[in-house]
């Protein structure tokens, strides 16, 4: 296989490679593998569609004013029709419009929770995995304590102790969520730090910080990407659950969980009030899970805890 060369003639080689070409090549390969994986392509399209709809909500929804405290008592409880695809609710608001705006809150929940918990968990995981001994013990045992608290219960506790708002719910979930990332990254770091390229950096004299962020972190990237994608779905589910219990999104703001909870009072006759928000949650979480599974296959991630 490598019977060739090893050293190439310096003069003879006319091929010039630039950093831009190497970068394009790397991106190109990743995109090629992504394209060939129908699962990740389907999941990616679903997630992308929802994100676009949520961002462009005021422009793509038929009744943007219905997202707030709007009332139109002449058209309450209308069944799905051409003008109201998902029907209308008890004060005459368009359910389709409110579902799309509800996606905004759900996605914001995922972004905020993961944005807070991932960097924190990753940093602690890197430190715990790299410096074994007492530091590792302290970090990992603390993690275990937090792991014992289900995020939903933690959020319930915080939100029922104070006035429930979606911001507090996000903080509560984030305060638990970092543990999963910490454990994942600590495990990967522990196995990577024995690799010879880490020892090579030590032999050169690189600082611990440089080794952690330049050598180890990039090697965690694939696993982290998969984990974050799969997590986004779960965080949204937890957020919807909190809203359903009345501890997340407060009316009149549109939240998918809140809508389901209010609609449930009118089951089974006014079924569209619960079914469409539920399907919306289902669609988004399925999208994230398919994307995550596809990424996992594509990037060949084999780490425990995903």
């Amino acid at each position: 296989m490598e019977a060739d060369e090893s050293a190439l003639p310096l003069e003879g080689s006319k091929i010039t490679i630039t950093s831009w070409m190497a970068f394009k090549d790397k991106i190109g390969r990743g995109w090629y593998r992504f394209r060939r994986n129908p699962i990740s392509l389907a999941g990616g399209s679903m997630v992308l569609l929802v994100i676009l709809l949520a961002i462009l909500a005021p422009y793509v929804t038929p009744y943007p004013r219905h997202a707030g405290a709007f009332t139109d008592f002449s058209s309450t409880f209308q069944a799905p029709s051409g003008s109201h695809w998902f029907g209308t609710d008890e004060v005459g608001r368009d359910v389709f419009t409110r579902v799309i705006f509800g996606y905004r809150v759900s996605l914001m929940m995922a972004v905020v929770v993961l944005g807070l918990s991932v960097p924190f968990g990753v940093f602690l995981g890197l430190v715990a995995g790299y410096f074994s001994g007492r530091i590792e013990t302290v970090i990992m045992r603390t993690t275990d304590i937090f792991l014992a608290l289900p995020p939903l219960v933690m959020a319930l506790a915080i939100c029922s102790a104070f006035t429930p708002t979606i911001e507090k719910a996000m903080l509560a979930v984030a305060s638990i969520w970092w543990t999963w990332h910490c454990r994942l990254i600590a495990g990967i770091t522990r196995s990577i730090k024995t690799e010879e390229f880490v020892q090579a950096s030590q032999a050169i004299g690189s600082s611990h910080a440089r080794i952690l962020f330049k050598d180890i972190l990039p090697n965690c990237a694939s696993a982290l990407m998969v984990k974050i994608t799969l997590d986004a779905g779960f965080v949204i589910l937890v957020g919807a659950g909190l809203s359903f219990l009345g501890l997340g999104v407060q009316p009149p703001k549109p939240g998918l969980g809140t809508m389901i909870s209010y609609g449930a009072q009118h089951l089974p006759m006014k079924w569209w009030l619960t079914v469409f928000p539920s399907l919306a949650i289902f669609f988004l979480i399925l999208g994230f899970n398919l994307l995550g599974d596809g990424l996992r296959d594509m990037l060949d991630v084999e780490a425990e805890g995903i």
């Binding site: 490679i17 630039t18 190497a22 030590q202 032999a203 990039p218 090697n219």
Partner: protein, 328 residues
């Protein structure tokens, strides 16, 4: 004879095996036990032994990758046993390492440029990015690779090319001493020869000293000026290479040399009678008492299992640790 570049005295490295929630030490892997030797400037000193004999651990402990359990390491007269901020800066510029398998010694997520730049950045060698890039190109030329390979990733290179990159990394600070940890054993035979030629050329040009860790005895015979034979963490024989090959004294050395394949009739006549060893190398967690080789030795006496023989200079420069030799 010049002053030795590197003096290692009674180097010990034990890896604790910890278990339980309190990380209690339950056992130790005695990887290196009281190893002493010295290396002169510009010399190729080789360390041979089978897998698990602790030779790689010696190399890695010398460079501070592992913290020595005991013993002293002096480099150019300075104590570098434990690296502090000041002596680490000095020592890491002077002493570098090439690892066994370039597949694992190059970070797959870093471009060749990023890997080679690391040294220049850490030691603040270059003033700016453009100068660094020029220096990285120069390093690649030194190991006979086209400079534009710096934009590639390790996965795009062959095994031999990767090992050249690893050598370039070691050369970046113009060291006077390089530990070569079986630098060719992960490569194809045809590529091995090219890497060896490159290493020889570089050594001749820059007057570097090599600690060449290997189990390829015939290669060491052509390269090294002195050779030490390790078994279960200890040096059992140390001699000028030619002396070691023509007049091996320790039974284990004899067995190793008898196992080297020969090509010419002349070589065959000089070679000791073929012997083969029964069994495996014992566990370094619980090594045999006395001379560690006694369970596999053909000349074993009672004293061998009871008392560790001393490393004795039997001829100028030829040291051996064996009751059978020193008592006879």
């Amino acid at each position: 004879m010049s002053d030795p570049l590197l003096v290692v005295k009674d180097l010990v490295k034990r890896f604790p095996i910890r278990a339980g929630i309190f990380h209690r030490k339950v056992a130790e892997v005695k990887a290196v036990e009281a190893v002493s030797f010295d290396i002169r400037g510009g010399e190729i000193f080789s360390l041979v032994g089978e897998s698990g004999s602790g030779k790689s651990t010696v190399g890695k402990t010398l460079l501070g990758i592992y913290r020595p359990t005991d013993g002293t390491i002096r480099f150019k007269g300075k104590d570098v046993t434990t690296l502090t901020k000041e002596n680490a800066r000095f020592f890491k510029k002077e002493a570098q390492m090439v690892f066994q398998d370039p597949k694992s010694s190059l970070n797959p997520r870093r471009s060749i440029k990023s890997t080679l730049e690391e040294t220049l950045i850490v030691h603040k060698i270059a003033r700016n990015g453009r100068e660094r890039e020029r220096m990285v190109g120069g390093l690649l030329e030194m190991v006979e690779l086209p400079p534009n390979y710096m934009y590639k990733y390790p996965s795009m290179l062959s095994g031999g090319q990767r090992q050249r990159v690893a050598i370039a990394r070691a050369l970046a600070l113009d060291p006077s001493f390089i530990v070569l940890d079986e630098p060719t054993s992960a490569l194809d035979v045809s590529v091995q020869a090219k890497i060896i030629r490159l290493l020889r050329r570089l050594q001749a040009k820059r007057q570097m000293a090599y600690l060449f860790i290997s189990h390829d005895l015939s290669l060491m015979r052509t390269m090294a000026s002195r050779t030490a034979v390790m078994y279960l963490g200890r040096i059992y024989e140390l001699a000028p290479t030619e002396e070691l090959f023509t007049n091996p004294l320790y039974p284990y050395t004899k067995t190793l040399i008898s196992a080297v394949p020969v090509v010419s009739e002349e070589e065959r006549r000089m070679k000791p009678e073929k012997q083969s060893l029964g069994g495996e190398i014992p566990s370094p967690i619980n090594p045999p008492g006395g001379c560690a080789f006694h369970p596999r030795c053909s000349l074993v006496e009672r004293v061998c299992s009871e008392q560790l023989p001393d490393l004795v200079e039997v001829k100028p420069g030829h040291f051996v640790r064996c009751h059978g030799v020193t008592n006879a």
